[in-house]
Amino acid sequence: MENNNLVEKLSLQVGSFQEGFEILCKSFSFEEMVKNFLHLMRGNFIVSDIYAYHKKQNDSEWSLVASLKNNDLSDKSYLVDSNDLSINYLEKEKFGVSVTLPLSDKSSFGILIGSKLDKSEFSDFDKITLQILLQVFDSAHKSFLNQKKEKELVFELNEKVVQLNNLVDTLIEASQYDKRSVLFELALERMASLTNASFALFQIKKDDNIVQQQSFPPTFSVDDVLNSELTIESSFDFNNLSYQFFLAEKETRAGATNFNDLDKLLLDAITRQVRSSIENEFLNNQAIEKEKMEKELNVAASIQQRILPEELPLIKGYDLAGTNIPSREVGGDYFNTIALGNGKYALIIADVAGKGIGAALLVSTLDAALHSYLEFDLPLTKMADKLNKLIYKSSPPDKFITFFIALLNSETGELDIVNAGHNPILLLKEDNSIHKIEAGGVGLGMLDMEIPYEGTKLNLEKGGRLFLYTDGIPEAMNENEEEYSDEQMEKFFVRNNTSGSQEYVDKLVDDVKKFSGNAEQSDDITLLYLIRK
């Protein structure tokens, strides 16, 4: 009968046990769960005090988690260490019950229940109720742990998704940055956040010397990081520089720890992208530089082409031809034949040291100056001197012009000549002997020391041939790096002593090109050829 009453009473309690379980399960922390449990206990037993303790491991101390008390009677000595559920009903002690409940995570839950307010003993119903409540707590705690584990798993999974997502975003962003400092800053921040590194460091070294360094967060001791045992690194070399990334001290709640394989993968992936960005920047700069150079060459070429004559004057009694074949890198070759009136003509050939716009502009200066000075009918040596001073002032120290001018009196064949540092010009006499017209002074613009130029006067007899050229002909190279040579050129000059002037020009150009083969033309090919008929 008594048992039937018990069962009946317990049946009435099922709802409240269920409700109690739900309340406990909704607790968001262990402490809150314990507090709720104590309220549940007090509601069922109407006791003065209840104290709840927790011990994480078997050999640690009990610590008070929560209490419902009228007086502070807490006393851990009443708790029993046990690997099984232990419920001790105490008589004539300050506590009525001492409970030790082992939990599923190998911790222990201890409860000290004070005496009942009505001073009565714990009845059978109370004891059964206590057992059930302890089971409710145990189940709720298991559920709490499962939820916590589930939350942790979801967190970890989301963390992996974040890592993957951020890695992709980082790789895309890193490929778009053209400013290195921003690129490195982005890489460091992302490496740190993706791997939970406390610190990230970036160094560029040349021959073991640090040329650049950047860190995240910006202020910390670099030595502390580099000396830490908890680091990983990734590096690459490019253009004689060494780029290194370091990560130090992976964070956890329990303190710093080692990085794992995934962290190394993430670090390496971002490092590779940084490398790719740097390589692309280099190639891009090269392409820009190349484009700039090509534009400059085009400008230089157009300057040169505007200056060089489209047509040479017809000189009565003479056969004159000339050409300029520019190299890929526009040089500073110049040639011209200027009619001075009264049957006089100035034949000029010149070569500016250097290439590009600078050389082209200097040639332009020479051309303008020549046209001016020739109008004044100055003695050639004096004119050469004036040109020298002008070019010296107009050009940088490393630029000068080798220059040859011959003033032809077409009626007499007299040649008034100045050779300022140019190759020896060749004169073929009727008897097939060559006269070399050597330099009578240094190139224009080389020195300004009042050293006078020496002039020469020669006669071009009928049948005689004058060959003006620049060093692009004798110095033309083939694939074996052999030069066409002065010797070969002179032999050609003698051998072709019956060609008309244009025929000679064309044949010589062909001969040089045949010699050079597929080798790139390294300098302008320029020549003027005059025959006195």
């Binding site: 979801v154 910390f220 001791s221 964070e251």
Partner: protein, 111 residues
């Protein structure tokens, strides 16, 4: 070693506004949680992350605990001035299921 994290806070009735500066890592997250725990009866926490462009998962785990604390008492956390990368990270981590975001502190205060 310094990690360059700072915060300032202001209490507006039951709304606490915290503005952070620097890397929200484990210690940054702890600082935020500690600052929040100093104030009782706060039912709204506005977290202005304008000067924090980098956050890691340890920092996020502290923020999640703060969110849970607030939600338990019927309160809410509102993030403002979020960097797009951080906003994306929070979205993936599911924070906005339990917290809110606003463009500015003012709009968060007014809602």
């Amino acid at each position: 070693m310094s990690t360059d994290f700072n915060l300032v806070s202001e209490l507006h009735d039951k709304t606490l506004v915290i503005k952070t500066e620097g890397y929200i890592n484990n210690s940054g997250g702890e600082n935020i949680a500690q600052e929040f725990s100093k104030h009782n009866n706060v039912n709204k926490l506005i977290l202005n992350l304008e000067n924090s462009k980098v956050v890691n998962s340890m920092g996020i785990s502290h923020l999640i605990e703060v969110i849970e604390n607030l939600n338990q008492s019927g309160g809410k956390l509102v993030f403002t001035n979020l960097d797009p990368t951080i906003e994306k990270t929070f979205t993936i981590m599911g924070l906005f299921q339990f917290a809110e975001k606003a463009d500015t502190v003012e709009s968060a205060l007014n809602n």
